[in-house]
C-alpha cells in the first residue's frame, strides 16, 4: 500500500515535470534548427538541419553581447538599489511605531493593483522632464520603484518573524540602530534577501514594455528589446530568437534553482495586518 502510494506520487510528479519542461524542450530544439524549420511536423529533438550555427551567429553577427552587458548592469543596479531601499522601509515598518503605518502598508499593496501598462505615458512624460529618456538612470528609477511595494512587503513580513530579543540584546551591548540592522538582522534574513534580490533581478532582466519606451539608442538596449529585434511583423528569425531565448533564460533558471532552498523559507506571505 505504502509502496503503491509512493509509485503513484512519483508518477504524478514525473508527469507534471514533463508538462513543466516540455516548452523548454521545444525552444531548445528550435534553437538548433535551420532558420526556416520552425514549422515542421517532427517532434524530434535533433533533425537533419540542426546545428549550433544559430548560437554561433548570435555571438558573431548580432549585438547580443552588448545587450547582455547592458542587462547585467541594469539588473545588478536595480537589485542593489531596490533591495537597499526596501530593507530600510521594511525594517522601519516592522520594528518602529511609524506614523500612518497601517495606511502606508495598505497604499503599498494597492499600488500593485493598477494596470502598469497605463503608466507608460505618464512615465514617459516624467522621464522626459527629468531628461532621463535614453539613459539607464530612467530605467533604474522606474524598475526599482515599481518593484519596491512587493519587496517592502516581502521583507517586512520576514523581519516580523525575527524575535525582538535578538536586537534588544545587541542594543544592550551598545550597538547603534544601524549596527543592529547590519550585524544582527540582515545576517539572519539571508533567505528573504536572496528571494527579494532574485525578484528584483528577474524584473529588470525580463521587462520589456518600459525599456522599449525609455531606451532608444541600440547601444543601450537590454536583452528583452534586443531579442525583439529578431522578430518583425512579417518575418521572425526563429532560430536566432530561440537560441537567444535559451541563453537569456539560462542565468535566471540557474539563479532560481540555486536559490530554490531559500524560496521555500524566504517567501513570506505576510498578512495584511499592520
Amino acid at each position: 500500500m505504502r509502496q503503491l502510494k509512493k509509485i503513484l506520487s512519483l508518477l504524478t510528479l514525473t508527469l507534471f515535470s514533463l508538462f513543466a519542461v516540455f516548452p523548454i524542450y521545444v525552444v531548445l530544439s528550435t534553437s538548433f534548427r535551420g532558420d526556416n524549420a520552425f514549422q515542421s511536423t517532427s517532434l524530434e529533438f535533433w533533425t537533419k538541419t540542426s546545428s549550433i550555427s544559430n548560437y554561433f551567429s548570435l555571438f558573431t553577427s548580432t549585438d547580443f553581447l552588448t545587450w547582455m552587458r547592458n542587462s547585467l548592469w541594469v539588473s545588478a543596479a536595480v537589485t542593489l538599489i531596490g533591495v537597499g531601499f526596501a530593507i530600510g522601509a521594511g525594517y522601519s515598518l516592522s520594528r518602529f511605531p511609524i506614523r500612518g503605518k497601517k495606511t502606508g502598508l495598505l497604499i503599498l499593496m494597492t499600488t500593485q493593483m493598477f494596470p502598469c501598462t497605463m503608466l507608460l505615458l505618464p512615465f514617459y512624460i516624467v522621464l522626459s522632464h527629468l531628461q532621463l529618456i535614453n539613459s539607464f538612470w530612467g530605467l533604474l528609477i522606474i524598475y526599482s520603484a515599481t518593484s519596491l511595494p512587493f519587496c517592502i512587503w516581502q521583507l517586512k513580513g520576514f523581519f516580523d518573524t525575527i524575535p525582538k530579543e535578538l536586537e534588544e540584546a545587541a542594543r544592550l551591548d551598545g550597538c547603534s540602530h544601524f549596527q543592529v540592522l547590519y550585524k544582527v538582522i540582515l545576517p539572519v534574513s539571508l533567505p528573504a534577501l536572496a528571494i527579494t534580490s532574485l525578484f528584483n533581478f528577474m524584473t529588470a532582466w525580463t521587462e520589456y514594455a518600459i525599456a522599449a519606451v525609455v531606451l532608444q539608442d541600440p547601444q543601450l538596449y537590454t536583452l528583452s528589446i534586443g531579442l525583439k529585434t529578431f522578430q518583425s511583423s512579417l518575418a521572425t528569425q526563429w532560430g536566432l530568437y530561440a537560441a537567444a531565448a535559451i541563453i537569456v533564460s539560462v542565468p535566471v533558471v540557474i539563479l532560481f534553482m540555486s536559490l530554490s532552498k531559500f524560496l521555500v523559507s524566504g517567501l513570506t506571505m505576510g498578512s495584511v495586518k499592520g
Binding site: 506520487s9 510528479l13 515535470s17 516548452p23 523548454i24 521545444v26 528550435t30 526556416n36 520552425f38 515542421s40 511536423t41 517532434l43 542593489l80 531601499f85 526596501a86 530600510g88 522601509a89 525594517y91 522601519s92 515598518l93 506614523r99 494597492t110 493593483m113 493598477f114 494596470p115 501598462t117 503608466l119 507608460l120 505615458l121 505618464p122 512615465f123 514617459y124 516624467v126 522626459s128 520603484a145 511595494p149 516580523d160 540602530h177 540592522l181 520589456y208 522599449a212 519606451v213 532608444q216 539608442d217 531579442l227 518583425s232 512579417l234 518575418a235 531565448a245 537569456v248 533564460s249 535566471v252 532560481f256 524560496l263 521555500v264 513570506t268 506571505m269 505576510g270 498578512s271 495586518k273
Partner: protein, 733 residues
C-alpha cells in the same frame, strides 16, 4: 555603496561622450533583410560626413506607432520616422510630424514617383523611398509551370497539387497559402467582385455584395482543401520557402528573401475572379520617412541632408540590388538594375491593376472593423452576410468615436472644483503635518524615518505622481485630435464605459479568467506541494524541475506557447494526434479554444509560485499533529482536510490575493498568445482591452478611465476577499 558610486560614474562618463557630433535618430520598422541594407547605406553616409552619427532603432510596426506617439507627446522622439504611408494620416492629425512642402523644391520632387509623395489634406508629409508593398501570386516554378489566370484555374490546379497525402492525411504540398488573419490580404478580393472597399472620401463601403461574395469566396477557398487549415504569415512564408506550398499570396517585400533562400519562383497577378471577370486589386503603397515636428530649426537642415541622401539614386539602388525593391527615384528606375530585373518589371504590371492605399486615419478603423470579421468568417463562426454588415457598422462607429472631439461640459467645472479642493486639503494637511514630520525626523525614532525616506520619495515620484496624472487624463478628452491640447471635460468617459455592454462582457470574461486560473494555480500548487513534501528521496529534483515555468521570462514563454498551439505544426496538436490519436484542435482561430490556450499557458506559468508558497507553509505545520491524527486512525484525506488545508490558509490567502491581482492584470500572456485578442477580439481581458483602446484606437482618456475602473474593482475585490478570510489569517504579525 562603493559599487553604486562606481556605477554612476561609469554611466555619467558614457553620457558625456558624444559632444561635437550631430546625432540623428531614425526609428523604422524595416524587416530583417532591409535593416541590413539601411545600416550599410547609413554607414556610407557617416564615412562621407564624419561629424554625423546616425542611430537606427528598429521597432515593430504597431510599437513604432505607439512609441512615437508617446515620445512626441513628451516633446522628444526620433528625428526621422520610417514606416508605411498609412501612418501619415494619424500622425499628421496629431500634429507630431511636420509638413515637408517648404523643404523640397518642385523640381526636386518631380524626380520622384508621385505615389511616393504622401500627402494628407493637401500637404506633403512623407517621402517614400520605395513603391509597391502590393500583393501578388507567387508560384514555385518546380511545382507550377503556368500560373493560374482565373480563380477556377487556381482551385483546380491547387486540388491537383494537394492530391498527394502524407501518412497523417495532410497534403504533401499545399496548393496555396496566405495570411488568413489580416484584412490587408483580403481587401484585394473585394475589388475582384466589383466594388472598392472605401468610397472616394475614404469612408468605409463594406456592407456591399462584393464584400459578402469575397468573404464567401475566401471561406470556400479555404475549405476546398488546397490550403492549410490555419495559416498566418509566418507559416505561409515558411511553407513556401520549403517548397511545401506551390503558391503563396504575398507582398513584394518578401521577394528578396525568397531569392536568397534559393526558391525558383515566378510572379503573377492574383488570379482573375471567374465569377466576375475582374482582377483583384492589391493595395499599392509606399514606405518612407517623415520628420518629427520637434526637430529644432538648427537641426532641420542636417536632417534634410540625411533625408536627401536616403532618397538619392545610389542609396535607393542599394536597396534594389539587395532586396529587389522598386525605387521611388525616377532616375534610379531608369538604371539597368531596375530595367533588367525581371521581378521589378513584373511588378509594374501587377501595380497596373492595383489601388492606391488610402492614408486617412479612418483607414485604421476600417482595418480594425474588418479584422475580427475576416477572422470569424475564416474560423467558421460568422456568415459572410453578417460579417459584412457588422464590419460596416463597427467601422462607422469607430470613425465616429475617433473623430469626435468632446467639449467640456458643466461637469468639467465640478471635476476641476473637486481636484482643486482635494489639492488644497492635501496641501493644508501636509503643511500642518510639516512640524510633526520634522519632529519625527529629528525625534527618538529618527533612524527609522530616515532609512524609510528613499523608498518613500521614489514611490511618490514614480508611482504616485503618474497615478495622479492618470486620474486627470481619465476626466479629459485626450485622443487623436486633441493630442496637443487636451482638457478636462467631465465624467463622460466613465459614463460611456458604464453604459457599454462590451465592458460588462469583457469584465465577465476577466473574472472567469481570474477564477479559473486561481483554481488551477492553487489546486495544482497545493497538490504538488503536498506530494513533493512526502516524496523524500527525489524531493529536491522535482522541486527544481517544477519551478522552471516560473523562472523562464514570461514573454519567451508566451511566444513559445503560441507557436506550440499552431493547428498543424504546433507541438501540442502533434502530441494529441500522435500519442492520444485524437483529431487536432483549432486552438488559435476559435474564441473558446483561444481562451483555453491562454488559460493553459497561464496555468503553466502560475502553478510553481503556489507550489513554493505551499511548501513554505507546510514547513511550519508541526509534525506532531499528523502523528496524533495517525494514532486516531485518520485517513490521508482527513489529515489533509483537517490539518494541512486549514493550517495552510495563513500563507495561501495573501498569496491568492496577490495571485488574483497579477492574473487579473496579466497583459503579457493574453496579448502575446492570442496576438492582441485574436480571433475577432474575443479573447480580451480588461487590461488587454485597455491597451488596445489606448494604443490602437487613440482613445487615451477613455482607457485612462477604464484603468481607474480596473483599479477600483481590484481594490474593492481584494479587500472584500481579505476581510472575509480575516479570522483565519493569523500570519506572522
Amino acid at each position: 555603496m562603493r559599487i553604486l558610486l562606481f556605477l554612476s560614474l561609469l554611466l555619467f562618463t558614457q553620457s558625456l561622450m558624444a559632444e561635437n557630433q550631430v546625432s540623428i535618430q531614425i526609428w523604422h520598422q524595416m524587416m530583417y533583410s532591409h535593416r541590413e541594407v539601411l545600416r550599410e547605406v547609413v554607414q556610407k553616409f557617416e564615412t562621407e560626413h564624419p561629424e554625423y552619427k546616425i542611430n537606427l532603432v528598429y521597432k515593430e510596426t504597431e510599437e513604432l506607432r505607439s512609441a512615437f506617439q508617446a515620445a512626441a507627446l513628451g516633446g522628444s522622439g526620433p528625428d526621422l520616422i520610417y514606416g508605411p504611408s498609412d501612418q501619415v494620416g494619424p500622425f499628421a492629425t496629431m500634429g507630431i510630424i511636420r509638413p515637408l512642402d517648404d523643404l523640397f523644391s518642385k523640381e526636386d520632387l518631380d524626380q520622384f514617383d508621385p505615389l511616393s509623395l504622401v500627402r494628407f489634406q493637401d500637404r506633403l508629409y512623407m517621402r517614400g523611398d520605395m513603391v509597391g508593398n502590393h500583393l501578388a501570386l507567387l508560384y514555385n516554378k518546380n511545382l507550377v509551370s503556368k500560373p493560374p489566370a482565373t480563380t477556377d484555374e487556381l482551385i483546380s490546379l491547387g486540388k491537383k497539387i494537394a492530391q498527394e497525402k502524407t501518412a497523417d492525411g495532410k497534403p504533401k504540398v499545399y496548393g496555396l497559402a496566405w495570411h488568413m488573419m489580416e484584412p490587408f490580404f483580403f481587401v484585394p478580393w473585394v475589388a475582384g467582385f466589383g466594388e472598392a472597399f472605401t468610397n472616394e472620401n475614404a469612408e468605409p463601403h463594406l456592407d456591399s455584395s462584393s464584400t459578402r461574395q469575397a468573404f464567401q469566396f475566401m471561406k470556400d477557398l479555404k475549405e476546398s482543401g488546397i490550403t492549410p487549415k490555419e495559416c498566418d504569415y509566418e507559416m505561409a512564408n515558411a511553407l513556401f520557402k520549403e517548397g511545401k506550398t506551390a503558391m503563396i499570396i504575398n507582398g513584394d517585400w518578401s521577394w528578396g528573401d525568397y531569392q536568397k533562400a534559393g526558391v525558383d519562383f515566378g510572379i503573377a497577378r492574383i488570379p482573375q475572379v471567374s465569377a466576375t471577370g475582374k482582377w483583384p486589386a492589391p493595395l499599392v503603397a509606399t514606405k518612407g520617412y517623415s520628420i518629427n515636428v520637434h526637430v529644432s530649426p538648427e537641426k532641420l537642415p542636417q536632417v534634410v541632408l540625411l533625408l536627401r541622401y536616403l532618397m538619392s539614386e545610389a542609396s535607393q539602388l542599394e536597396f534594389t540590388e539587395k532586396v529587389s525593391s522598386l525605387p521611388s527615384n525616377l532616375n534610379a528606375r531608369r538604371s539597368d538594375l531596375v530595367q533588367k530585373n525581371e521581378l521589378l518589371q513584373a511588378s509594374s504590371d501587377l501595380m497596373s491593376v492595383g489601388q492606391a492605399m488610402p492614408v486617412a486615419p479612418e483607414l485604421r478603423a476600417i482595418w480594425d472593423a474588418l479584422r475580427p470579421q475576416y477572422q470569424a468568417v475564416m474560423g467558421g463562426t460568422q456568415t459572410a452576410e453578417k460579417a459584412a454588415e457588422l464590419a460596416q457598422k463597427n467601422a462607422l462607429e469607430q470613425i465616429h468615436v475617433m473623430n469626435e472631439i468632446e467639449k467640456p461640459t458643466s461637469q468639467a467645472l465640478i471635476v476641476k472644483f473637486i481636484f482643486g479642493l482635494l489639492g488644497l486639503v492635501l496641501l493644508v494637511l501636509v503643511l500642518r503635518k510639516l512640524p510633526l514630520i520634522w519632529s519625527e525626523l529629528m525625534g527618538p525614532y529618527r533612524f527609522a524615518y530616515w532609512i524609510m525616506l528613499p523608498a518613500f520619495l521614489s514611490l511618490i515620484a514614480v508611482v504616485i505622481y503618474p497615478f495622479g496624472y492618470n486620474i486627470a487624463l481619465s476626466f479629459s478628452n485626450l485622443s487623436l485630435k486633441t493630442f496637443q491640447d487636451w482638457q478636462i471635460i467631465g465624467f463622460q468617459n466613465y459614463i460611456r464605459i458604464a453604459t457599454d455592454p462590451v465592458f460588462y462582457s469583457v469584465l465577465g470574461k476577466t473574472i472567469l479568467w481570474t477564477i479559473l486560473n486561481l483554481i488551477f494555480h492553487v489546486g495544482l500548487g497545493v497538490f504538488l506541494g503536498v506530494i513533493i513534501d512526502q516524496t523524500l528521496p527525489a524531493k529536491k529534483w522535482f522541486r527544481l524541475l517544477l519551478i522552471i515555468p516560473w523562472a523562464v521570462p514570461q514573454y519567451i514563454t508566451a511566444l513559445t506557447w503560441r507557436g506550440m498551439f499552431n493547428q498543424e505544426y504546433g507541438a501540442i496538436n502533434l502530441v494529441i494526434q500522435k500519442y492520444l490519436h485524437l483529431s487536432p484542435i483549432q486552438w488559435l482561430t476559435r474564441p473558446l479554444e483561444a481562451f483555453g490556450a491562454c488559460l493553459l499557458t497561464n496555468i503553466w506559468l502560475g502553478f510553481p509560485f503556489m507550489m513554493i508558497v505551499t511548501l513554505g507553509g507546510l514547513q511550519s505545520i508541526p509534525k506532531e499533529l499528523y502523528e496524533a491524527a495517525e494514532v486516531d486512525g485518520a485517513t490521508a484525506w482527513q489529515k489533509f482536510r483537517k490539518i494541512t488545508w486549514p493550517l495552510l490558509q495563513p500563507v495561501l490567502i495573501p498569496a491568492t490575493t496577490l495571485g488574483a491581482i497579477w492574473t487579473f492584470n496579466n497583459l503579457n500572456v493574453v496579448w502575446l498568445v492570442s496576438n492582441g485578442g485574436e480571433p475577432s477580439d474575443q479573447t480580451h481581458i480588461l487590461v488587454s482591452y485597455v491597451y488596445k483602446a489606448a494604443f490602437n484606437l487613440y482613445r487615451y482618456s477613455q482607457s485612462a478611465a477604464l484603468s481607474m475602473i480596473i483599479f477600483l474593482i481590484l481594490v474593492v475585490g481584494s479587500f472584500l476577499f481579505l476581510k472575509k478570510n480575516e479570522p483565519s489569517s493569523g500570519g506572522p504579525t
